[in-house]
C-alpha cells in the first residue's frame, strides 16, 4: 500500500512538473502583455521601463526556474495587469470558485441521483425517457446560451433572482444551476448504467432472494455499489467544472478562477495564467490521487488493475 501511494505521488509530481513547463512556454507564446497595460500612446521607452520593472527582461530559463522555485513555495509572482501578488488574486477568486463548484455539484447530485436511480429501476418507461431527455439537453445546449436565457427570463423579466455577482446566497442559484445542468447529464448516465449493472448482479439477486423489499434493494444494496464509478468520476467532474466555469463566470459576472484565467489570457498576464492552470491541475491531480488511494484501500485488486495504471 505504501509503495502504491509513493508511486502515485511521484507520478503526480512528475505530471505537474511537465505541466508547469508546458504552461510556462504556452503563456509566453501568447505575446506581449504590455500592449494592453500601457496606454495606446505609450512609447518604446515606456515599454522598456515596464519590462524591466516586471522582470520580463530576464532570460527565459531564469524566468522559468524562478517561476517553479517560487511556485513550489506558494509564490506565483506579481500580476502584470493588476500589479499585485498573484497569490492575493487566487485568494480572492479560488474560494468563490470552489463555493460555486460545490453548490452546482450539490444541485447536480440532487437532480442526477433520483433521476438516475429511477431511470434505471423503471428502465424503458416514460420516466426513463424523460430523465434521459433532461440529461441530454444539458449537454446539447451551449452553456452560455442557457445562462443568458435564464438571466433574461428569471432575472430580467420575472426579477425573481439576481443575475450578476456573488453577494448573497440567492446569487448562487442561476449560475449554480447553469453549471450543474451540464454535468447532470454525465452523472445521470453514469449512475443509470452502473445501477443497471448492479441490479443485474448476483449480489442483488441474493439480496432479493433473501427477501429484502424492492426499495431496500434499490436504495441500500444496489445504490451503494453503483456509487463507486460515480466517485471515480469526481476528478473528471472537477476538470469539467473548471472548464465550463469560464463561460458561466463570464455570463454571471462571477469573480472566480475561470474568469481570472480568461482575463489573464486576454491580457497576456503570464504569472496569472501559469498560476491558474497550475492550481487547477494540482487540484485535479490531488482529487484523482485521493480517489485512487481510497479505491486501493477499499479494494486491493485495484492496485494491480491494468485500467488504473
Amino acid at each position: 500500500m505504501a509503495r502504491f501511494l509513493l508511486t502515485r505521488l511521484i507520478q503526480s509530481v512528475a505530471t505537474l512538473v511537465l505541466l508547469s513547463l508546458v504552461i510556462f512556454v504556452l503563456a509566453r507564446a501568447t505575446g506581449d502583455p504590455l500592449t494592453l497595460i500601457l496606454p495606446m500612446v505609450a512609447t518604446e521607452e515606456d515599454f522598456a521601463n515596464a519590462r524591466r520593472y516586471l522582470g520580463l527582461d530576464q532570460p527565459l530559463h531564469v524566468q522559468y526556474l524562478m517561476f517553479v522555485g517560487k511556485a513550489a513555495a506558494g509564490d506565483f509572482g506579481t500580476s502584470i495587469r493588476a500589479r499585485r501578488p498573484v497569490i492575493e488574486l487566487l485568494r480572492q477568486r479560488l474560494p468563490s470558485s470552489l463555493a460555486l463548484g460545490a453548490f452546482s455539484m450539490a444541485v447536480s447530485l440532487l437532480i442526477a441521483f433520483p433521476l438516475g436511480v429511477l431511470a434505471a429501476v423503471r428502465k424503458g418507461t416514460a420516466l426513463d425517457t424523460g430523465a434521459k431527455i433532461v440529461a441530454a439537453l444539458g449537454q446539447a445546449l451551449p452553456t452560455f446560451w442557457v445562462g443568458i436565457v435564464l438571466i433574461e427570463i428569471v432575472a430580467g423579466r420575472l426579477q425573481w433572482l439576481p443575475a450578476g455577482g456573488n453577494d448573497s446566497p440567492a446569487h448562487y442559484i442561476l449560475p449554480g444551476f447553469t453549471l450543474g445542468w451540464f454535468v447532470i447529464a454525465g452523472l445521470m448516465r453514469l449512475l443509470r448504467s452502473s445501477m443497471l449493472e448492479v441490479l443485474d448482479s448476483d449480489y442483488v439477486k441474493t439480496a432479493r432472494a433473501k427477501g429484502a423489499g424492492e426499495p431496500a434493494v434499490v436504495w441500500r444494496h444496489a445504490l451503494k455499489n453503483a456509487l463507486i464509478p460515480v466517485v471515480t468520476f469526481a476528478g473528471v467532474y472537477f476538470a469539467i467544472l473548471v472548464t465550463t466555469a469560464i463561460v458561466v463566470e463570464t455570463v454571471f459576472a462571477w469573480p472566480g478562477m475561470g474568469r481570472l484565467a480568461y482575463e489573464a489570457i486576454t491580457a497576456r498576464d503570464f504569472p496569472v495564467i501559469q498560476a491558474v492552470v497550475l492550481v487547477t491541475a494540482v487540484i485535479v491531480v490531488a482529487v484523482n490521487l485521493v480517489v485512487d488511494s481510497l479505491y486501493a484501500c477499499i479494494d486491493p485488486r485495484i492496485r494491480i488493475d491494468p485500467r488504473r495504471p
Partner: protein
C-alpha cells in the same frame, strides 16, 4: 438488444446531406450582406418574408442559408477533431500499453498532464497566440481530447496483453508494429468508434463555448456556435438569430449522443463504465 435509434440516424444523415449538398439546397448566399435588411424576422412573424424563411442576422445575411452552410463547418469541425484526437489517442494508448516500461510510463504521464489541462484555456491561449481559425480550433480541442482516448485504449490494451493470442504472436516472432496494428488495434476499434461518436457532440458544444469567448471559428464563416454567440445580445429583440443555429446544435448533438449510446450498447457494453 436496444432498437436502433432511427430518428437520431435520420437527423445525422439529414445534416450530413445538407452539408454535402449545401450549394444546391441553400436558398441563398450565406455571405451576402444587406445591411438594410438586418434582423428581418422569420417568414411567419409580422414583417417577415419568404425571401428569408428563418429571417436574417445582424448584417442582413440569410439565416437559413447560413445554417445550411454552417452544417458543413460545424460537422466538419466535430468530425475532424474527434478523428484527429482519436488517431493520436489510439496511437499513444496502443504504444504505451504495448511497451509497458519506460516508454509507457512517460506516455501516460504526458496523458495525465494533458487531462489536467482545461480544454478551453488551451484553446483561448492558441486563439490569442496565432489567431482564431477553423484549423486552430480543431487543433486546440484535439490536442487535449486525445488524452481521454489514450487513457481508455491504454486500459484495453493492458487487458489484451494478458491474453493468449498476443503471447502466441510474440512467440512466432511478430514485430511490435505488427502486433499493435494487426492484433491490438482491431480489438480496440469498437471502443474507439463508440468514443468518437459520443464526442462529436461534445466538440460542437465546446466550439460554441469558444465562440462565446471569442476564440471559436471566426466570422464570416457560418459556424453554428459563433452564430449563437453573435446573436446572444439580441435574444430579447431578435430571438431567431441565436435560436435557429442553437436548435441545429441541439438536434445534432442529441442525435450523436443517442446514436453513440446505442452503438456502445451494441458494440462494447463494458464501456458503459467509462
Amino acid at each position: 438488444m436496444k432498437r436502433p435509434p432511427v430518428v437520431s440516424a435520420a437527423i445525422i444523415l439529414g445534416f450530413v446531406l445538407l452539408a454535402l449538398l449545401a450549394d444546391v439546397v441553400s436558398p441563398g448566399d450565406p455571405y451576402e450582406q444587406t445591411l438594410r435588411a438586418r434582423f428581418t424576422p422569420p417568414a411567419w412573424e409580422a414583417h417577415g418574408s419568404w425571401t428569408h424563411p428563418l429571417g436574417t442576422d445582424r448584417l442582413g445575411r440569410d439565416l437559413l442559408s447560413r445554417i445550411i452552410f454552417g452544417a458543413r463547418v460545424s460537422l466538419a469541425a466535430g468530425v475532424v477533431t474527434v478523428l484527429l484526437a482519436g488517431f493520436i489517442g489510439a496511437g499513444v494508448g496502443l504504444v504505451a500499453g504495448y511497451h509497458r516500461g519506460r516508454v509507457g510510463a512517460i506516455l501516460m504521464r504526458v496523458t495525465d498532464a494533458t487531462l489536467a489541462f482545461p480544454i478551453i484555456l488551451l484553446a483561448l491561449i492558441l486563439a490569442v497566440t496565432v489567431g482564431p481559425s477553423f484549423t486552430n480550433v480543431v487543433i486546440a480541442i484535439a490536442v487535449i481530447l486525445w488524452a481521454r482516448y489514450a487513457r481508455v485504449i491504454h486500459g484495453e490494451v493492458l487487458a489484451l496483453m494478458e491474453r493468449e493470442f498476443i503471447a502466441q504472436a510474440r512467440v512466432i516472432g511478430c514485430s511490435a508494429g505488427r502486433i499493435i496494428v494487426v492484433h491490438l488495434l482491431p480489438n480496440t476499434l469498437n471502443t474507439l468508434i463508440v468514443l468518437l461518436t459520443l464526442q462529436v457532440g461534445y466538440v460542437i458544444i465546446v466550439e460554441a463555448s469558444l465562440s462565446f469567448l471569442g476564440a471559436g471559428i471566426p466570422p464570416p464563416a457560418p459556424a453554428w456556435g459563433s452564430m449563437v454567440a453573435e446573436g446572444r445580445d439580441v435574444i430579447t429583440t431578435a430571438w431567431w438569430v441565436s435560436f435557429f443555429p442553437g436548435l441545429a446544435i441541439l438536434l445534432v448533438v442529441l442525435a450523436f449522443n443517442l446514436f453513440g449510446d446505442w452503438l456502445r450498447d451494441v458494440l462494447d457494453p463494458k464501456l458503459r463504465q467509462q
